[in-house]
Amino acid sequence: MFLKNWWKLLSFFLLLYTFTAGFLGKVPARPILNETIRNLYFHVAMWFGMMIFFIVSVIYSIKYLRHNRPSDDIYAVEFARTGIVFGLLGLITGSVWAKYTWGDFWSNDPKQLGAAIALLIYLAYFVLRNSLTDLDKSARISAVYNVFAFAMLFPTIWIIPRLVESLHPGGMGNPALDTKDIDSRMRVIFWFGAIPGWTLLGVWITTLRTRLQLLSLKHELHG
């Protein structure tokens, strides 16, 4: 039991650590940001989670295209779904944060636009999937689409936002993790608490959904 589920417990303790140390720990005092710098543990962690889930999703899509196993398709879909949930949460929390630091919920910042476009591309993945009634065809075409959707992540969230001027920290470099903005005590909470904690939580939720989907697949096959 513990052998199989220890990472769920780890996720709990990492998030417990993030929530307590994230609020009680000292943070560097920065103008404009003030205490909102603590959003790093929550808002930025959402984006990291999303990227990880999309990477896992595309790996399963490629696996599906190679081996034609329906379970791979289910994994790809559910990881993409959790990725979208995390991405939407990142977008919403980001715009709340932007309201109190940049002055507006939405200011057409390249990073906001890029993230929104990336999410729309992934939403189209589900539209495409659900519009095809033939299960096999739907899985195959959406797996191919997923590879393209993943490829679009590169320009929309990894390249263009790094090249253009932006309100977002690290406009001309690495967003959010600049040494000018955060210090080592924040980095520990971020890398060892928030990122693995939130990601493992997302993986757990995804496995719950994939297990349900696998059950209904089995039910369909064997009646």
Partner: protein, 77 residues
Amino acid sequence: MVKLSSRLCLSVFAMMLSFFVYAQDSLKDEKPQMAEAFRSSGKIYVVVAVLVIILIGLFLYLVNTDKKISRIEKNIK
């Protein structure tokens, strides 16, 4: 596997301890306004308490859902 996971947990825990070490030193630049009053009056603990309760609640719900799905998996097999 048990050894590996417990070793991993232990090393992560050790990294977390460094937070307490950092908590000892004071801020050098105090110009930007931080929520010092909220902190000194101790009310930040209220926020942390609320968040911890929500976190525990959410995880209990997840554990519950996980168990239910496991039961269905067993029944179908």
